[in-house]
Assembly symmetry: none
Homo-oligomer: 271 residues x 2
DNA sequence: GAGCGCCGGTAACAAGATCTTCACACGCAA
DNA sequence: TTGCGTGTGAAGATCTTGTTACCGGCGCTC
């Protein structure tokens, strides 16, 4: 699945991927040893790489020594944080002023460590930064769900209708899977960010095109049903509906009835 | 304005709620001033409170000085983090060893600051921690509210009256949502800026036009009620009122939580 | 290694939906 | 009443979305 191994799929791999931009060989050595023992995937970089390259690495976390980057470091930090909002960014650099630390954090960094620092502590900080993101994706249990006429099977990376495969591509499946897990409206940026793993460029229509392909395959496999609804100016919402009329609960857990004359609030799933 | 309205407005305002367990009066004073300016809701605690009490506070973040808690501090920290995985926990305490900091972070703290520290930096760290949590908990924060006869559902970008959608456009919804979150008069410039995201040009009548469209749809879906009131020369104010007479408290939260501490006013005529 | 087909991503166009603007009517305050 | 701020309706401009075609990359087969 080469390219198909998207951020979401990667993270399921359970192996944390970390990049460090730093030039201190001793520091790197210590960190490397420690991380190897923990089974992390470390990428040591001795100078700034393009933001796109970072995107391509599918990282969980990034440690930066601002001193390595020189004058453009703030701007670089800002660009990285803006482009990869889901990435844990830790600045680990030499002596700094309060103002500098404040600036770094405001630009989007998750934590600031001052060198010299103990490797163990840095690792804890990285873990703490990553923790939430991982937790957020845990609920992605490999459990198949059935909504309307279709069955989604994360274990097979495929969806079925009336016993037949929908022949979804990897990306199509990921979008369907994401949409089906929520019955609220998802903005395009949100969808893009969670499927592609980084921020959507302005004017990108990829989500629309994939939604169209999805709709086509869904309609082929399950005629008379509408699954993906457009909310003009906002985004898309998943909800199985028969052409004729009534809608069904969006997920098996939740229940709502559009027919009653009173809106029913679905209890939020409390973890 | 009753206190119900105040409470509602507070929650709806998206104010960040923070508790600090600390006994340093000077520290508290500085922090308090700074946070007040930022519009945060600060709760100063001079000693440990039960975990259940913390749960009841619905905090976004918690700052703890371990020194205040004494011997049981580690266990307390662990219990809090385990019970409230969605809470940003920052330990802010005096001199410490690497081992202590590592321990604190491993127990679930999001960050560790050493006192003495600059209030501004602490705030940035808190913000960074909350930012990460927000990302994971977003879906939860969107609560439906019911005012008068209409129900506003941010998760669907739509409002309903008597079970039927008002068919609001995205922008109409945003304006209604904004207005409904406050029971004071909002100037046009204010509305424009918060919905459009930039300053209103002089002489722009867009807000007026949208208010008109909103009123029309509200009247269609919920006759005999007035929701948006004009304040000549000033702006608009949201308050559900029946034609016949009395007004109602501005907002009632239809919270998904079972243990809502909201006082709920239910109009008798909702069948 | 070349050819082929699949897949992801981009560009372009058309159809709609929505937003802005404008002119005028109306109501409020001095 | 005058002067201004607001309500109203509609036309035109703008923005969004659906849809199709097309291109480059990749893996596969031959």
């Amino acid at each position: 699945m080469g390219n198909a191994a998207t951020a979401a799929a990667q993270r399921a791999n359970n192996r944390l991927r970390l990049a460090v931009i730093d030039r201190d060989p001793g520091f790197m050595q210590v960190l490397s040893n420690r991380l190897e023992a923990l089974g992390w995937d470390l990428r040591a970089l001795s100078s700034a790489v393009t933001v796109d390259a970072l995107v391509g690495m599918r990282l969980n976390a990034l440690v930066i020594d601002l001193a390595v980057l020189g004058p453009g470091s703030w701007e670089y930090l800002e660009r990285v944080c803006a482009r990869l909002p889901g990435l844990a960014v830790i600045v680990c650099t030499g002596p700094s002023s309060v103002a500098q630390r404040v600036r770094g954090l405001r630009l989007g960094a998750d934590a600031w460590m001052s060198k010299p620092c103990h490797a163990e502590e840095l690792i804890c900080v990285i873990e703490a930064s990553i923790r939430r993101h991982r937790r957020a994706e845990m609920p992605q249990l490999e459990q198949s769900t059935t909504v309307g006429e279709i069955t989604i099977r994360p274990d097979l990376y495929q969806a079925y209708a009336r016993g037949a495969s929908l022949e979804l591509t990897a990306r199509e499946f990921e979008i369907l899977n994401l949409l089906s897990q929520s019955d609220r409206v998802l903005r395009r940026e949100e969808i893009y960010e969670r499927v592609w793993g980084y921020a959507m460029a302005h004017g990108d229509r990829s989500v629309d095109v994939f939604v169209r392909k999805l709709r086509q395959k869904l309609r082929t496999g399950s005629p008379n049903w509408n699954y993906i609804h457009t909310h003009f100016g906002v985004g898309y919402r998943f909800a199985p509906e028969m052409d004729g009329g009534e809608s069904l609960p969006a997920t098996q857990i939740a229940s709502a009835d559009a027919e009653s004359d009173q809106i029913v609030f679905q209890p939020a799933l409390v973890a």
